[in-house]
Symmetry: D2
């Protein structure tokens, strides 16, 4: 239980600092492009893929024409479509490849990622930076204790990025609700009745 609470604390702290570091310009552009898109496609791998699906579900509740890359009824991307790619590193093969195809057909690409410079950001129209794990100073004293397991991470791999992406995208849903004048009841009406 002690580590459960400690890890939750680490995540909450990361969310607070991430929320403060958000670039208004990036977020406002994201919302503007979303509102102007003919159709929205989302893509992500592993847990980032689950996060972007949670976002797609809410976009559907808001009546967007939205598709998840890899699901059954997802059609071909075309000019005027928007691809939202979520990848902490910006180097996941599948995601970079999807972005390249989007580029070729003339669709817009928004990257939700942790790094300014990556294969994904290079071909994106807009990049929204969400901090992942803090880089730690790798002094030799640190390295010794790291090897001894003293600093073993309680939020392994992409955890901090993934939770931050989910909370950020839920924040974007709030902005869209206000901009579109949608009330919760209208979302509920479109919520799947058979799951």
């Amino acid at each position: 239980m002690r580590e459960t609470r400690r890890a939750m604390g680490e995540i909450i702290e990361h969310l607070q600092s991430s929320s403060k570091k958000l670039s208004s310009k990036q977020v406002n552009n994201f919302i503007k492009i979303l509102l102007g898109a003919r159709r929205v496609f989302v893509v992500g791998a592993g847990r980032s893929g689950l996060v972007v699906k949670a976002f797609a579900m809410r976009l559907m509740h808001l009546d967007f024409d939205v598709y998840v890359v890899g699901e059954t009824i997802t059609p071909s991307l075309r000019v005027g479509d928007l691809l939202i790619a979520v990848s902490g590193s910006g180097e996941t093969d599948l995601i970079v490849q999807a972005a390249k195809i989007a580029r070729k057909v003339g669709a817009k690409i928004i990257a939700i990622t942790s790094y300014t410079k990556s294969s994904l950001t290079k071909i994106s129209d807009l990049v929204v930076i969400l901090p992942g794990r803090k880089k730690v100073a790798r002094t030799s004293a640190f390295m010794r204790r790291e090897l001894a397991g003293e600093y073993a991470s309680l939020t392994p791999l992409g955890t901090l990025f993934e939770v931050t992406a989910l909370v950020f995208l839920d924040g974007v849903i709030a902005s869209l609700m206000v901009k579109l004048g949608r009330k919760e009841e209208e979302l509920r009406a479109r919520h799947a009745t058979i799951e």
Copy 2:
């Protein structure tokens, strides 16, 4: 290899006899209801679920407004929608429950199934019967040899129904292409470019 070919032979033979037994009235009604539906929802469990997804993919290629129950962007069912439920036995809990919800909201239900009388067919607007496995005469001589494994099935569980459903639904796609005047090239244009 011998059993591979023997099982394929059993399946092909079953497809031939199933194709002959199809009811023109049932199939024509199926196509008519499909063409009149505002939106199409499909549902199936296990391998029947995979078969109905393969059908949904082609409906999307034909520009239908189609959704798979359980996928991310599937909205709530409403009046005027059509639910296509594929279930050999017509008794799979999840499927019967989905059909009940469809009934309640006033959506139409088409059952693709092997049995005329089941919980699913009872609440369906149209039933299309596809034969599953032949019932074998259970003489005591048969039972003895069955127990000895001589008649062990090479096409276990729902195999015959599932393959028949896939081939039948691909046949329905052919009828829709002709009725809608769609050429293969138009399907290809909507085929997902990122998978």
Copy 3:
């Protein structure tokens, strides 16, 4: 952007208060049952389903024998298995039904939910309570302003529960890592290389 940040603030505040309200007894029992389970099955609908998949992925990284209900290679539940069901209301049909089947075969059931009394909790061996949305006092003055949209929620439907469940389950992963003596590098080694 203003609403994005405000909604993120609401979520973070909810996470903080939820983390404090966690019952040590419930969490410690959860971890103990998890460590003793032969195989773990997870189930959830909609966005709760995505959250429980994110948890299952980490359990796999920790070398648990884990399955997601509804995915291709999920076998039948048996005695000695554990079913983890995530449902804010505890009344989602699909989830309650899954729990009933688990009960029948003699598997253990853990409910992650917001309400102490529900169809799900009634048949669960252990209930872990995660607060969802705060109930607001429905004075007539409030109702008038609610209707006028002044209090329109920025975190609609199950948002608060879903994010809390994800962060809580990531906390449980931290406890499991420490109890099992697993380092991040060992998780990375099992992380899917093709996605």
Copy 4:
């Protein structure tokens, strides 16, 4: 209805000729490698992906340690694992990329495909050829009538390959049942009880 039956006839005819053209050597090697694999991973895109999932489900019923690339609990590929890739063209990006990663880690690769020479077959340890659509002689008379829509295909895109792959893989299941001495009842016992 007429086209439904005609398309079903085309598919059945294709299955018959494909079954005859199967290479015993290829099929026997496929079965041998399957039986020797530590773990089996399957991958396919679009409808081929659905077909390979149907195969994976039966392998699970036969107690194989099997995973579908892209699903939640799929771990990293390692030496000694087997990747089965289903792709009519052998050129689907996602599939070729998966095969390349398998190659790098030292896993075995089996390609189920229509063409002997492709990016996929080049890096596969074993290739099983299943005929797709017949190439038609493109005389100018044919071309004129084709343009007029007289020969419009009733089995568009990958239909013939996909159905053939499903029926062939169900045939392989029959061989595995006999080789492993498994009866249908044993498969049923592992069949998912919650779907």
